[in-house]
Structures are given as structure tokens and as C-alpha cells.
């Protein structure tokens, strides 16, 4: 790993952040596109959530009884009703730990 490669990666990353903010004005996006952009969070974050749950560190699929599945389900239920971020994350982690350290042990 060289500083040069980090700088190139950094420039590319910065361009992904800057391009749409600094170079695009609102008039360039039509109403239809703006309506579709409303869905960006729902269209992007599951691509982080699903692999984070269903694919393990070695890049293969987990088993159907993997504790992460239950942890995620608990987080969804707690998050849905509590509307609280800390409660959602803690509920998911604690149920996951209960499964791996107490129940499946």
C-alpha cells in the first residue's frame, strides 16, 4: 500500500461525493427524477444490510439458523415500535449475543 494509491482512492471517493452536490443544479433534474430520488435511502441501504446479515466474513452465505438473522429480526421489531436508534442497535446486538454465548453454546 502506497500513499499514491491512497491519494488516488481518496480523489475518486471525493469526486463521488462532490460531483452531484457541486456540479449539478436543481433545474437539471426533472420532477420525475426527483420523485424517484425520494427512494434513495430505501434503494441503497439494504445493499449494506442484506450482505451484512446473510454473508459471512469469508464471502459465503450463512446457514438458515444463523444468530444474525434472529438479531436482525429483533432489531426490526424493536426499531419499528420504539423509533429509537440506540434501542434498535442494542436490541439486535444483545439478542445476537444471547444466542451465540448462552443458547447456542
Amino acid at each position: 500500500m502506497t500513499l499514491t494509491s491512497i491519494i488516488f482512492a481518496g480523489i475518486l471517493t471525493y469526486l463521488t461525493r462532490m460531483t452531484m452536490i457541486a456540479l449539478i443544479s436543481r433545474d437539471m433534474l426533472g420532477d420525475k427524477i426527483k420523485a424517484v430520488l425520494e427512494y434513495v435511502p430505501s434503494a441503497v441501504f439494504p445493499a449494506i444490510i442484506f450482505p451484512g446479515i446473510f454473508i459471512n466474513d469469508y464471502g459465503t452465505f450463512i446457514e438458515i439458523n444463523d444468530p444474525k438473522i434472529y438479531g436482525a429480526l429483533v432489531a426490526i421489531v424493536v426499531g419499528y415500535f420504539s423509533k429509537n436508534i440506540i434501542a434498535t442497535i442494542s436490541a439486535g446486538l444483545i439478542s445476537y449475543w444471547l444466542l451465540i454465548f448462552v443458547i447456542f453454546n
Binding site: R17, A43, V44, F45
Partner: protein
């Protein structure tokens, strides 16, 4: 009308719960770099220059596996290309800023900060200094990320690996989208994205991270057409 300071503070408060996942992940990220045998200064330089959690880990892993630096750089670019979508959404709210301010604020746009500030923007369109909320979320994330990766680099992985704290990352994003499960159209878009990400997980350069949102946005466009 809220003052700049109030908006900044509000941004800090809105983002702070996510530190529960960001800080452990940063520690892991810093520790991995050193464990893989890279120069600690370079591992830290990534946090400052790239400033993008998952892409930093992929960068390290590809290079430690003997991969070409060209492929590692390209992968970082592709993983982070999702920011283009965040920028397109935010541009509407940041339109009035000067070009220089737009260039500066771009550096601190990250997933969680975008998500929380976007939620705030939608509800408070009329505020004059709206962007201070984004500066609040972005700066908080930036500072915590620097400290977390630094402590991982210096202290090593003092977070026990058995705890599986990487799992906090999907949980943080569940917390972000969970309220949208109330809307059927959003549920369809989310499932489309999630299933596509698993289907295309082995696509080159980790491109599943941008392929699946694009597919999901096409589905969203179709849904909008059906609604009419």
C-alpha cells in the same frame, strides 16, 4: 427559524446514536490494517484521505491479498459511487451555497450523516441555514471515525472479535430505514435492493453496492408510474 449553532447541535444529536456502531467499526478497521502488516501511518492516512468505512477495509484486504493497486483503487471508487445518489438528493437542499462551500461540505457526506440530515431536511425545508445540520452530522462522524481508527491502530483490536461487532453496521442501517417499512412501495424497493445485493454479491469490484440500488431505483420508477 433556528440559528446556525442550533442546527449544528441538532445534527450532532441526531447522529450520535449511530456512534454505537461507527466507533467499534472504526476500531476494527484500524486494527485490521495493522494486523495485515501495513504501515500504521498509511492505515491512518486512509481515514483522513478516503474517509469511507467499508471501502477502507476492502482496500486493505485487496492489497494484502497481493491484488493490484489499480484494482484496489477502482474498487474503492465503485463502492463509494453510491455517494453520487446521496449528492443528487442533497443538491436540492444545498443549492444556495457558494461553489466553495459545496466543495467543502462534500468531503463530509457519509451514509449515516446523509440519512439523518436528509430526514431532517425533509421536515424542515424552510430553514435558512439547513446545511449546518449536515455539517453537524458530518463533523461528528468525521471526528469519531478519526479517533476510532486511530485507537484501533495504536491499541490493536481491543474489542474482542468474538463479540462480532461488525454486525452493528447492518443494525445501524436497519434503524435508519425501519420506519419506511410502513409504506408498501418502500418495502418493495428495499426487498429488490436487498435481494439484488445478494444475487450480485460476487460481481467484480464489489459493484453489487451500486448495481442493486440502480435496479431498486428502476423498480421505484415503475411503482411511481403504476401509482398514477
Amino acid at each position: 427559524m433556528l440559528s446556525k449553532k442550533q442546527l449544528f447541535t441538532r445534527g450532532m444529536l441526531d447522529i450520535s446514536p449511530h456512534m454505537l456502531s461507527v466507533i467499534p467499526f472504526g476500531i476494527i478497521c484500524g486494527a485490521i490494517g495493522v494486523e495485515l502488516g501495513f504501515n500504521p501511518y498509511l492505515v491512518y492516512a486512509m481515514s483522513f484521505i478516503i474517509f469511507g468505512g467499508a471501502s477502507q477495509i476492502v482496500f486493505l484486504q485487496l492489497l494484502s491479498g497481493g491484488g493490484s493497486s489499480l484494482i484496489a483503487v477502482a474498487s474503492v471508487g465503485i463502492i463509494n459511487s453510491r455517494h453520487l445518489l446521496y449528492g443528487a438528493v442533497l443538491s436540492e437542499y444545498l443549492e444556495k451555497l457558494s461553489f466553495i462551500k459545496k466543495l467543502l461540505i462534500s468531503y463530509i457526506v457519509v451514509d449515516q450523516g446523509f440519512a439523518e440530515s436528509n430526514k431532517f431536511f425533509k421536515k424542515n425545508r424552510g430553514e435558512e441555514y439547513l446545511h449546518y445540520h449536515l455539517i453537524g452530522t458530518g463533523c461528528t462522524l468525521w471526528v469519531c471515525w478519526q479517533f476510532a481508527t486511530l485507537s484501533g491502530i495504536i491499541l490493536g483490536s481491543f474489542v474482542p472479535e468474538e463479540l462480532g461487532l461488525k454486525f452493528a453496521i447492518p443494525l445501524t442501517f436497519i434503524a435508519i430505514v425501519v420506519q419506511d417499512l410502513k409504506k408498501l412501495d418502500h418495502v418493495i424497493v428495499m426487498i429488490t435492493c436487498g435481494l439484488s445485493s445478494l444475487l450480485f454479491f460476487d460481481a467484480p469490484f464489489k459493484s453489487y453496492i451500486i448495481i442493486s440500488p440502480v435496479i431498486a431505483l428502476f423498480v421505484a420508477a415503475l411503482l411511481l408510474r403504476l401509482k398514477k
